[in-house]
Amino acid sequence: MSTTRIILICSGKGGVGKTTTTANLGIALARRGVNTVVLDADFGLRNLDLLLGLENRIVYTAQEVLAETCRLEQALVKHKQEPNLALLPAGNPRMLEWLTPKDMKAIVALLEESFDYVLIDCPAGIEAGFKNAAAAAREAVVVTTPEVAAVRDADRVIGLLNTQGVSPVQLVLNRVRPKMMSTQDMLSVDDVTDILALPLLGLVFEDEQVIVSTNRGEPLTLGPANSPAAQAYTNIAGRLQGDDIPLMDPAKARQGLRAKMRKLMQTKIF
């Protein structure tokens, strides 16, 4: 078995940030110098290519590679600014039915030969799409938001991953709003980890820069790490590689914000 890390990015619930996490983590890992490929297994609602700004460069998909109508190198789309990152769409949206767990294993076996990290962007749900995407995964990152429904679905997915022997399974808590947490209008970090009982790989704050960058097709981690979310993804990449980076503390982030506001007010007054 190779030492390639094959990591499923999944959540159960849709719209919690799997694709955003895959794209930013892919860039962050590539920037650290590791050969990374992101595999879009959510090809029914394909948008990993969009987030990475690579939509117009896709010619082939993994399906053509397995059918031997093209070589793997031809189907891989290299990122413009980050040569260490490549994208492989598993299929195209009109061919939903073709992928089986066997196909998935075959694709990943090919990718394993030339990459250190394979990140698999998983579709929402727990049906066939999820099972296919998970078929070749060795480890997983479960993305959730501090909402009851998202946590419930994440819990379900973790149960399924456990039965498939995927390990380790780690947690990314996305769209954290320190203010709402402090007023208990949102589940706290402890509430979430208390139920899911997974090691916390990272916290990503709610950050409008995420939406701006999504629309531009330039993941946040490409730019300077001056937005909270960009810093968070960079930290997650570090922790994945074994760096010991302390977690952000929502309570401190809030104090920081208040201190900044106070300073701003003072400069205006004087």
Partner: protein
């Protein structure tokens, strides 16, 4: 449609051992760790007179507590209780119908590890989970359900109609409880930390009370 009841949390106050301390001396201390509300009074083998019981009632009432029911091993205490209008039960003679309908613990199934949302673990006998039962997970058994961990999902004991079946957990905060055909919403308040609790059927109502090791040994 099933009628969904609300569970009632029972508070139990145990009088001290007669050989160690007089109940009058022990009461102030006992009350500091006992929440207000209706409570079951376990009198042990104290032989209490009507005057004793009236005094007890008065002491409890000024601190916002009412005696709901009284249990004792001494017949005289039951008589005194009846005389002042309290419901008393002689310990040891549990209601015959409950005994008859207690499920036979044919087998004990054990699950080790957390049950997560969507999991459903079942047993034809009793069931023991060594781990947590998360919200969204379900456990059901023909006899008793025991969770050596936190119960936050849905639990059903006495699935085939055994009204004597119990649900026991170290941390009882279920979404919903079912015993035989009775369904109840879980309690809103947090359980007392570090104290095992049990749910059982009393007069067609699911009540939650501190876990009773005696009754667990019986089944």
């Amino acid at each position: 449609m099933e009628l969904i009841l609300e569970v009632r949390r029972v508070i139990t106050l145990y009088l001290p051992d007669r050989r160690l301390q007089h109940w009058r001396d022990a009461l102030p201390d006992l009350l500091t760790s006992c929440p207000a509300g209706r409570l079951d009074l376990h009198c042990g083998d104290w032989s209490l007179t009507c005057t004793d019981l009236r005094d007890l009632q008065r002491i409890l009432e000024v601190s916002g507590r009412q005696i709901h029911r009284l249990e004792t091993t001494v017949p005289e205490t039951v008589v005194s209780a009846a005389a002042i209008g309290l419901e008393g039960r002689l310990w040891g003679d549990s209601p015959p119908d409950a005994a008859r309908e207690s499920p036979s613990p044919r087998s004990l199934m054990v699950h080790q590890g957390t049950l997560r949302s969507g999991d459903h673990f079942q047993s034809d006998g009793s069931l023991l989970v060594v781990g947590d039962v998360n919200p969204g997970a379900r456990i059901s058994a023909a006899a008793d359900v025991m969770v050596w961990g936190r119960l936050r999902g849905v639990a059903h004991a006495g699935r085939d109609g055994a009204t004597g079946a119990k649900i026991v957990s170290l941390h009882l905060r279920p979404l919903q409880l079912r015993i035989a055909s009775v369904v109840a919403r879980g309690p809103e308040d947090q359980p007392v930390a570090g104290m095992a609790e049990q749910a059982r059927l009393v007069d067609g109502e699911i009540v939650i009370e501190p876990a009773d090791p005696q009754s667990m040994a019986r089944t």
